[in-house]
Subunit: 141 residues, 4 copies
Amino acid sequence: MLTIRRLDLADAGVLLAGARARADAIGVPMCIAITDESGQLIAFERMDGGKVTSATIAIDKAFTAAAARKATHEYGTASQPGAPAYGISSAIQGRLMVVGGGLPVLVGGEVVGGIGVSSGTPAQDQDVAQAGIDAFLAGQA
Amino acid sequence: MLTIRRLDLADAGVLLAGARARADAIGVPMCIAITDESGQLIAFERMDGGKVTSATIAIDKAFTAAAARKATHEYGTASQPGAPAYGISSAIQGRLMVVGGGLPVLVGGEVVGGIGVSSGTPAQDQDVAQAGIDAFLAGQA
Amino acid sequence: MLTIRRLDLADAGVLLAGARARADAIGVPMCIAITDESGQLIAFERMDGGKVTSATIAIDKAFTAAAARKATHEYGTASQPGAPAYGISSAIQGRLMVVGGGLPVLVGGEVVGGIGVSSGTPAQDQDVAQAGIDAFLAGQA
Amino acid sequence: MLTIRRLDLADAGVLLAGARARADAIGVPMCIAITDESGQLIAFERMDGGKVTSATIAIDKAFTAAAARKATHEYGTASQPGAPAYGISSAIQGRLMVVGGGLPVLVGGEVVGGIGVSSGTPAQDQDVAQAGIDAFLAGQA
């Protein structure tokens, strides 16, 4: 039998709030998704002005980061033409995201969830996702 | 050109909070989704203990209620064997929900969004969705 | 080798105009789709106030009527519990529509296209689809 | 509550007519799709000779341009190997189009809809889409 540690809804709220604050600070309204360690959605927000297409993309970034236990931008590097994971971006009916903005959430070296952000540039999305994690880890300390 | 009114994220938060409070009161952890008037997701929460399957179901109930401008339990009645809309439940790749728990959100007679709830019985889901709407309308008054 | 007769875009415009006029007359803004004899989309209109969910449903009703060469309400009868085609409504990822409002377009006994209508009751949808066909056939006479 | 401006069906007709006239002028029969600001289909035409595959592609180009508020050819540049959005083309089950021919429709700096064109080269598709927008904006002036 396995025992799994997983974000709860209160944790997801902390991640969302941290990401939202950073999105406000840089002036880019975002879609923000939080999943559990299996990639299943816990919480989602489309800020006023976030893109409609980014709802699915944010959810899929969080899914990928948690369920594959890998930041989506790392998949971006690994899936370039000629690289070993080339073509992985169309896996799982396109849900495997290789664009930056999806990060696993780790506690004690274990993945306990994922955060995915979309509507800005991939660098902005990743920055906002990291701010969510920073807020969460500050609360864990 | 058309002019459309739509829930914003703050409105979605009021709907979520009203539904969550009712779910807590009846002791059934729920998945709760809020969409805009076109059925696009604005906010989502899976309460601790909410069902994994119910995430998609709640999102699709809210989508149906908003984008078809009809409560999902009304589709349930209209789609019984022998009734005119029999078979509609598999439309749109199964996203057209005919199980209770999806309600359109109306302001001044116009649909401005939808709320979808899942994890309890359909009657519980509908009750919790209505509580979200009641909380929202109380704030509008 | 086969020679196929098929609606052209001008024909589709006549079908659309006939259906739209009837929708206006009964005061129900509709989604209206016209396909060729293979079920491939030629033309589509969502009238102001037509339902978002009905875009896909109208397209799939026209697809079903043309490609299966059968009115969708006939599938409704044939797919009731205990009837031979029970369960067909979920075929083709749910695109096989069994709700009224999809009609094949026939010329000289051959199916040359399909029309699908959605946003009203199934009876209203079928009535508006028939008005499109009536307008088209009047032009053929 | 948010207040949104959106193309109506008459606007969509102007966009279609402008695009169709340009397609006729260059002698390339096109599929042309018009969506609202959320990417939901308002109107579609497959000109006689337009490609069957291009129906979905035109609809998805219009969806992308409106709902992501970005021309599809800009995504083409941003998603080249080594560029930040590499891999985005398979997002949303492949609906996120990065091939030219999808343009957002802007009024007063706000996206009110999208136009997507397909059947020619991407440059021809984009040219025809732009002609639709030019016709629409001429009518707004």
